[in-house]
Amino acid sequence: MTTLMKGTRWGRPELYTDYRQEMALLNTRSKKAGTIAIIALAAVLPLTVADDLLAILYAGLILAIGAIGLNLVTGYAGQVSLGHAFFVGIGAYTAAVISGDPDDRRLGYGIELMPVWLLGAGLAAALCGALIAPVATRLRGLYLAVVTLGLVFIGQYLFREFREISGGAEQSRRAAEPTLFGMNLTEDGAWTEEQKLYWFGLGLLIVMAVLARNVARSRIGRALQAIRDRDVAAGVMGVDLTRYKVIAFTLSSFYAGICGALLYASIGSFTPERFGLLMSVQFIAIVLIGGVATISGTIMGAMLIALLPRIAGELPAFVPFLSGSPSEHPNVFEFQEVMYGVLIVVFLLFEPRGLFGIWHRVRTYWKSFPFSY
């Protein structure tokens, strides 16, 4: 490879002395301090928050992992997928099968070692993603959305019909139980089940979020965004579209699989019906509300979506016309059904950059505080 300079001197000496520092994940002191503060706050939360709320927050942390996956394929690579719930389901059933009781009438291998079933779930989902990606890469935009929507219905059918695995329609199957250092996280001990699960979920989310950010800032992440912004130009610049769409779907599905494996740990079981269109829409809502192509925004979005039923439950106390009883109209349950849609519409119209955009603006405002209007 010949150097671009070929002996000529190009301009002034470098202003930057250390690109490694410039390219670091937390490249400013305030980012570093802020991130540490948020993680510390999140870590001590279980000491003060009630267990029922912690269970909701755990679901939010795990949903965030799945939503980060969707953001990789939809937010970064621009491939709208309505099929995310399918991969979450694959993860949930794979983990349940690997760790399941071998004596049960349903398939189970009794391998309770968490790294095994967790990775197994991620890889099984990733494999499905990789297999489906080539079909998906031939399609764009609306067509891709419709085909991936079909995936959800195929998944629903498969999950119901493979009775040796799921038990059949509306049959619940025990979720895999996370154990860490020989400690079953779903049993109370020195700490409650909810506390332990929450800390585990927080730790795993941080790891998964950092990995995703790494991909996003790498040549892979740039290629995905290039495909999203201008696919013809991306090809002309040397980006192999098919290859990178397959990478996007595979990674995304891996995250979905991990999410599925852990999502029901606190509830204890799940049914095939869980992995329907509503779940896919929920993930789309998280990505849109959190902000397209941002990892931190996705986490915010997931927490908001997880907390939404709880927030809605509190609403009748503040909103006089909203009833807490299902027999009166309008009631909170009706409200819950429409709120994803309402939130998506509101965010798309008023804050397309999502919660990340709001947070970004607040931050910029405070940064320039003494000088702002």
Binding site: M1, M23, N214, S218, G221, G235, V236, M237, G238, V239
Partner: protein, 283 residues
């Protein structure tokens, strides 16, 4: 026709490309030599951009050969052609609007960065080492094109003229063996045009990258091009030095539909081209 100096980098041989009844490229042949700035001119819809699209693998011609440094490019997909060293800019800027200037240029280096998805996930080691190294290369281009003040801005927010420059930078970042410029100064004011002309000449004379430039700005083409090809309705009308082409009666006919007075025809041809360009810019 002038004798070409040096050995040809690119040979474009009898290429035919049609869309249904429209013959976009109809038997075009030319060669581009080392260190040469080869210009392609012609009226709107003459097939200039189509030639670029054939060269970069976006369109597949029905007939012909395109040979870059001994290798036939026909049938190759755009990324493969990019890897062989063909870079281009687009008539209507095709930047990645949400990426910063630096990231757009880094994307130009995509094929030079060689690490996989696993290395990217973990970042430390291979991935980081290469990112740092290539970031340094990108900085050279930032300085060369005087883009310092926009480095970290998403390109979608930049003024048009700067975007044109970033697109040139992205193509340069690929370290091309052949650079295709599709109307690099279209829609630019005089000052921006002069800057761009300076960059193009530096690329030819200092970086020594052979170029094909499609341009409606006759003044610029006649000033800086080594050779010029005129196309009309997908058909080559003339190839030669700017002086030769300006004197060629076929060229005058292509631009004017036949005028005996050569001098006046050239004048009018230039004006027609400028008018066409203005029209294109305002559209």
């Amino acid at each position: 026709m002038s004798e070409a100096s040096g050995s040809p980098v690119l040979a474009f041989e009898d290429v035919h490309l049609s869309f249904g009844a429209v013959k976009a490229v109809n038997g075009v042949s030319f060669t581009v030599n080392e260190d040469e700035l080869f210009a392609v001119i012609g009226p709107n819809g003459a097939g200039k951009t189509s030639i670029f699209n054939v060269l970069s693998g976006v369109y597949r011609p029905q007939q012909g050969r395109v040979v870059l440094e001994g290798r036939d490019l026909l049938g190759m997909r755009p990324p493969a052609i990019a890897r062989l060293g063909v870079a281009r800019t687009f008539q209507n800027i095709e930047l990645f609007a949400n990426l910063t200037v630096v990231d757009n240029l880094m994307l130009g280096r995509h094929q030079h960065l060689r690490y996989g998805t696993l290395a990217a996930l973990l970042w430390v080691g291979r991935a980081r080492g290469q990112e740092v190294e290539h970031r340094r290369r990108v900085e050279e281009i930032v300085e060369f094109l005087e883009l310092e003040q926009w480095r970290k801005m998403p390109v979608g927010l930049l003024p048009y003229g700067v975007q044109k420059r970033v697109e040139l930078g992205r193509a340069l970042a690929m370290e091309p063996r052949l650079l295709l410029l599709d109307e690099p100064v279209a829609g630019m004011n005089l000052e921006e045009t002069e800057d761009m002309a300076r960059y193009i000449l530096d690329i030819r004379d200092e970086l020594r990258i052979p170029m094909i430039m499609v341009e409606h700005d006759m003044g610029l083409v006649m000033d800086i091009a080594d050779r010029v090809m005129v196309v009309d309705f997908g058909t080559p009308v003339a190839i030669g030095t700017p002086a030769e082409v300006q004197r060629n009666p076929d060229v005058i006919r292509a631009y004017l539909g036949g005028d005996p007075d050569v001098e006046a025809a050239v004048e009018a041809g230039v004006e027609a081209a400028i008018a066409a360009e203005d029209e294109g810019a305002s559209a």
